[in-house]
Symmetry: C2
Subunit: 339 residues, 2 copies
């Protein structure tokens, strides 16, 4: 009996990701007992482009509330940064400013490596030292990524704030709040952000180069494996070699072991059913990445970007996601426990 009920639960959970991609549309019918519904895609398999910024109401109603990503063109054309932020300009204006740089042997910061969740070594370097490495004028061991997500544009490079807006006015009005963080991103082609999600509404603005995103909506959770990992940090020796050092005082963290670029489908067979979205955000474009969307990010060499993190609403949709997460975990355990 329990087996049967559990099979029903498993079936509903595994059907959910595809059901959630379909947006029902009511066919006008005043019979309130059985409204007649037809279907259209709610989450299309490409990320739509808008040719200009939406109004605050449109942004909230059509994108934030339904938790749908979009790429917005012509939203940054008035930012001086778009024309000014060359490497020579950055070297001249903030070259001597020290910034926090994530350094890893393989480009993967905050990612699963073997049976550990590994965080990058952090070094303080003048920005011009990073630019030298990006331009091939100097060597630094490992892979460099300026990606400290502590509002590092405001904290570490405040001079550059003059070249951008301190927030996105139509988004701040829509969301009824100011951003929690404005981050600056600059790194090598090998620097990769592993598949994860954030508790933020994210407006990601590419200034030069391009970013490549692989995306899954939160509703794909049943297909995406999560495991608990001991945390570790890369330490860099003087000879430029890296070693992983466990953070013994820190609790285990849940993370996604799967690499969507080369998924291990023997180990994670449910991922066969998942349908990732791919998109490229080009210089001058702004990407609305909704809260809780899983994303994996790569970039062109030396890509410069700025992003705004607005705190998400911990509302009914969030509670529903938490339920989906708990049930997915329960099914993962039921699958991996010895029968």
């Amino acid at each position: 009996m329990a087996e049967e009920a559990l099979d029903a639960v498993r079936k509903h959970l595994l059907e959910f990701p595809n059901a959630a991609r379909v947006n029902k549309v009511r066919v006008r019918d005043p019979n309130r007992l059985s409204p007649c519904l037809s279907s259209e895609l709610s989450v299309p398999f490409t990320v739509p482009h808008l040719e200009g910024p939406p109004t605050p109401l449109q942004f909230y109603r059509d994108w934030v509330c339904p938790n749908r990503p979009c790429i917005i063109r012509n939203a940054l054309h008035h930012w001086p940064a778009l024309k000014k932020w060359t490497f020579s300009y950055l070297r001249a204006t903030v070259g001597n400013t020290e910034v926090s740089v994530a350094v890893t042997p393989d480009g993967y910061a905050d990612a699963v490596c073997g049976d550990r969740f590994v965080m990058p070594a952090e070094r303080r370097l003048p920005l011009k030292a990073v630019i030298d490495v990006l331009e091939g004028r100097a060597y630094h061991p490992g892979v460099l990524y300026v990606q400290k997500q502590c509002s590092n544009l405001s904290c570490e490079l405040p001079q550059l704030l003059l070249d951008v807006e301190s927030h996105v006015p139509w988004a701040s009005e829509a969301l009824g709040k100011m951003p929690d963080a404005v981050n600056f991103w600059l790194g090598e082609e090998a620097a990769v952000t592993s598949l994860h999600k954030d508790h933020y509404e994210n407006l990601y603005c590419v200034i030069s180069g391009e970013k490549h995103f692989i995306l899954h909506p939160p509703s794909d959770r049943p297909f995406i494996p999560h495991e608990l990992y001991t945390q570790a940090t890369y330490h860099m020796s003087e000879d430029g070699s890296f070693k992983m050092v466990d953070e013994e005082a820190m609790e285990k963290v849940p993370w996604i072991p799967l690499d969507p670029v080369a998924p291990d489908l023997d180990r994670y067979p449910l991922y066969k059913q998942a349908q990732p979205l791919h998109c490229t955000v080009k210089a001058g474009e702004m990407f609305y990445l909704p809260a809780l969307w899983f994303h994996h990010v790569r970039q062109s060499h030396g890509c410069i970007a700025v992003n705004f993190w607005y705190d998400m609403e911990y509302d009914l949709k969030y509670s529903y996601y938490q339920l989906l997460d708990s049930l997915s975990k329960a099914m993962e355990l039921a699958r991996t426990d010895p029968v």
Copy 2:
């Protein structure tokens, strides 16, 4: 093993309604791995009042998107109906107009009775005949309720449209659409609407008298029993007696057998854990009843109301509800099946 996993699923489902009532608030902390959250109530135990209409953006962001009810004051003060719609005015202007009237022996139209889902007898009566009964000047068998939800204000009583607005402008702008239906409600004190939900965003405007709502958010679904019923309709004989006639051609419908006014807790013990909200909507007030909220409605004798039904969005939140519904059903079956 399956027993254990099923227990975990049951536990998560039964904890969900209370978890969904709590709105987490982030305590500012840039550590993106473990944001620190404190709690506040997302669904309070009373329905909040607004002292005036919200802006379209506020309405969407603060009420529609998070699926939260509110009572809005001073939103109807410009409607001539508020002053004009007395029984004598209705008798004088539309007294001879025939309207559809739901007639039941006990006041329950569209409700479970024994092992049947029973729909009311429908009679065409001039409105003045209904008013005569409401005023005690005439007798009619059973309980009368003008409640035909086919946009009956527009279709049956178009003369009255002059005294109200044909839609709610700030709501139409927020939702990006016009209402699907505008309904007129007039009935006896004994007329009750049984616990159910609608696939509409509902703006319910009380013109005179008052309506009493008992409410459950959609997240309470695991506590609210649903069963499948054969459909039947009341037929009225010439002597004024009623008989139930099965609708043999129609499929069984799922309905809620539970009466929140006097719940049978021996039969539906999970409902002990449910926490209904009660609210009274008074003359001149507009009630925003969000889509998919369960509601049971009573009224003062002769209460007059008009409501606007706006089609809901069949988006991620709807898909999540459908999953919750399927899983609740699976648990109901696991409970009632012989072990």
